[in-house]
């Protein structure tokens, strides 16, 4: 480069990335080969830590398992970006894979050869508080009453997913209709809807859930409806704000000029446009509702035993928490991963579908 300072020096050009030395670049040069090597090493390490070292239940086992998982992740990352290109988003696809596994497991829970996870009287002969051992009849261990944790997790997933998804679907249906109508009509309708929305948002959510659960006995249906009521004001606000953006656009004006009716404008012009950003927010809300349901059943205020839910499994594990932490942490990890992956998918969907996010 010459020493003369020209105009180009002040143009805001993207600075070319510094040539990166170090481990990462070396690995990426032969991404597929190194990826497969790391996958093999990680897989062997995980197998070894889970199988051979089952007897030693100490810190080395967990450290080895963690290192093996990191190896697996890095290896998978290298291999996939070598095969599918550098823009391949491994985190997103792993999230999708986890959700498919959870949904599939929940759907097939009745068919799979699982040990007893509901009826204590049928689990009298099972070992209690057995540690997770992937190669036994209780892959994720048993709780203090000998009930199978894997079975509990899959049946619990049914409750969590039904309540989370159901509440959001109801919330979207009602909230989007009210929000789009309010944003389209403006005037008095808008005022009334906004006032009701503000009042509903003023109510602390957990307190509302506690009160509703006290009033009606907690079943899947009541918890789902209570959560749907909580979802409605948020969706009203979201779809109203999006409607205000779209209502200014030319295609709505054109529709009006062509003499389309109000109802037809709402259904054919506004709803299809508002639906995508609203749906992308829906993923995040499903995650929040799975947490809400788990919190309620942790407090004993949602679906109760003998039906296992993630929340009441964790609550049951509290008794021997100090000596048997796996009874809490196995369902806890599943709950965490599900919420994490839903958030991850939701963020990605929002980045793609929400026009307000896309601008930033």
């Amino acid at each position: 480069m010459s020493d003369v300072v020209t105009f180009e020096h002040f143009v805001d050009e993207p600075v070319p990335a510094r040539p990166r030395g170090g481990v990462r670049a070396t690995l990426q040069r032969h991404g597929l080969a190194w990826g497969l090597v790391l996958l093999a090493v990680g897989g062997f390490g995980l197998f070894w830590s889970l199988d051979v070292m089952t007897a030693s239940d100490g810190i080395p086992k967990y450290v080895l398992a963690a290192v093996a998982l990191v190896c697996l992740y890095v290896g998978l990352d290298l291999a996939t970006s070598a095969v599918f290109g550098a823009r391949f988003d491994l985190g997103l696809w792993l999230s999708v894979a986890w959700m498919v596994a959870i949904i599939g497991g929940a759907a097939l829970a009745g068919v799979l050869p699982l040990a007893e996870s509901k009826d204590v009287s049928k689990a009298l002969l099972e070992p209690i508080n057995q540690r997770p051992d992937l190669f036994s009849s209780h892959p994720l261990g048993t709780d203090g009453q000998g009930l199978d944790i894997l079975g509990g997790i899959l049946y619990g997933a049914r409750v969590s997913l039904t309540i989370g998804v159901g509440a959001v679907v109801i919330g979207v249906a009602v909230g989007m209709l009210a929000g789009v109508t309010a944003g389209h009509r403006r005037g008095k309708v808008d005022g009334v809807v906004s006032f009701l929305t503000d009042s509903m948002l003023a109510f602390p959510p957990l307190v509302f859930l506690l009160a509703v659960v006290a009033a009606f006995s907690p079943t899947i249906l009541t918890v789902m409806l209570a959560l749907a009521v909580l979802a409605i004001p948020t969706f009203i606000r979201l779809s109203r704000a999006n409607t205000l953006v779209f209502a200014q656009r030319e295609f709505v004006l054109a529709a009006r000029a062509l003499g389309e009716r109000d109802r037809s404008i709402v259904w054919r012009e506004l709803v299809p446009n508002v639906a995508l950003p609203v749906a992308s927010f829906g993923f995040l809300l499903v995650a929040a509702f799975i947490v809400a349901e788990a919190s309620l059943s942790f407090l004993g205020l949602s679906v109760a035993r003998p039906n296992p839910t993630w929340g009441n499994m964790i609550a049951a594990g509290q008794e021997d928490f100090q000596t048997e932490p796996h009874v809490v942490f196995v369902p806890g990890t599943v709950l965490f991963l599900t919420v994490f992956t839903l958030n991850r998918i939701g963020e990605d969907a929002r980045r793609r579908w929400d026009p307000r996010e896309a601008k930033v």
């Binding site: 957990l206 506690l210 006290a214 205020l301 806890g332």
Partner: protein
């Protein structure tokens, strides 16, 4: 405009009080039976119904109750020892407020520096580490976080200390590498005092962190030492630390992500370019120029967060067995002690609404564009 905002609160609170009353009205079971006991004489039950005013129509009872609330008379507990509801709530409220306040302070102390570090060089290792951990922490439900902290800080304190020390060590190694690279970039000796200062700061920081980690006190598994108790502030803080940390961790993660995003956007503005052109150091630009205009959405969210903190103490108080508003509410709901639940719900809703209104008003004062009505 401020007056209008505050006037708007009155109808909202009215609707909230209406909802509180009628949701709990739908609770099955007769409060009079709760008072008298299940096997009581029907005559006694009828007497108690009359005494509690339950024989009157619902609407009349609502306005009776509302009138009582207005004059500060919240009735009495249905269960023994049948204290006035206001006494029960007065005992519980300070615990919840202290938890929420402590969590707020802790979350702010964590979120703002973390966001500054992450935004200072977007996309580098500290940013990715902080953003990923914030994203992970958001996905941990508060009851799980509480159990995790109990497991680490109470049952396996050695493990917690080892983990914290490992994090400090990794951070120190990263900084040492940065200093080493900076040292290589300059000709020998030209920046020596500056580099020596940084090395001393790094070693000193690591030493302080190590001492703090080693000095970690033993936290109680449950229970609460009140500020007014004889044990003093230290014991009080010790018993409130883990519950407050549980609440703070999730709020801090949300705030950090929000503030980081706003900071990154602000750093693209022209006045930042001007500051950089003047040769201002990166840290000064971040703290003096970029922080203030980036704080507005954090302040907006703060209102929602305070409401969530006060509502969210329900679970934490249950797990750590603290005598706050949340555990009072859960206990009263399970015992169908309606007057206590009504009063507690109304109080929490009132705090929530008022905090949000205060935030709206504060926003008006902080942002000159809104103050002058130009939006």
């Amino acid at each position: 405009m401020v007056g209008l905002k505050l006037a708007y609160l009155v109808p909202v609170m009215f609707v909230v009080s209406l909802a509180t009353f009628f949701i709990l009205e739908a609770v099955p079971g007769d409060p009079a039976v709760t008072v008298a006991g299940v096997n009581a004489d029907p005559e006694i039950v009828a007497e108690i119904r009359a005494e509690l005013g339950l024989d009157q129509p619902v609407i009349e009872r609502y306005f009776d109750w509302l009138g009582g609330v207005m004059t500060g008379d919240l009735g009495r507990q249905l269960l023994e020892p049948r204290l006035p509801v206001s006494t029960v709530i007065k005992a519980a409220l300070p615990v919840t407020l202290e938890l929420a306040g402590l969590a707020l302070v802790m979350a702010l102390l964590a979120a703002i520096p973390a966001a500054l570090v992450a935004a200072s060089r977007p996309g580098n290792a500290p940013d990715r580490a902080l953003s990923t951990s914030a994203f992970a922490v958001i996905a941990i439900p508060s009851f799980l976080m509480a159990l995790l902290l109990i497991f680490l800080f109470i049952f396996n304190q050695g493990l917690a200390q080892a983990l914290l020390f490992a994090i400090a060590l990794i951070g120190a190694c990263y900084l040492a590498n940065r200093i080493w690279r900076a040292a290589k970039r300059y000709p020998p000796g030209s920046k020596a005092p500056y580099l020596i200062r940084r090395v001393v700061a790094l070693v000193g920081g690591l030493a302080v962190a190590t001492v703090l980690i080693l000095m970690m006190p033993e936290f109680p598994r449950q229970g609460f030492v009140r500020l007014s108790a004889d044990e003093g502030v230290g014991e009080n803080l010790k018993s409130a630390f883990l519950p407050a940390l549980t609440l703070a961790s999730i709020e801090a993660a949300v705030w950090m992500r929000l503030l980081r995003g706003d900071l990154v956007a602000t750093l693209q503005e022209d006045f930042i370019l001007a500051s950089r052109a003047k040769g201002m150091p990166r840290w000064r630009i971040l703290t003096h120029d970029a922080l203030r205009p980036s704080l507005f959405s954090l302040i907006t969210v703060l209102g929602v967060s305070i409401g969530r903190l006060i509502g969210g103490t329900v679970i934490v108080e249950q797990i750590f067995n603290l005598p706050g508003l949340g555990s009072l509410m859960v206990r009263s709901i399970q015992a169908k002690d309606v007057p206590v639940v009504q009063a507690a719900v109304l109080l929490i809703a009132a705090i929530y609404v008022i905090v949000n209104a205060v935030v709206d008003v504060a926003y008006v004062y902080l942002d000159p564009r809104i103050r002058r009505g130009r939006v």
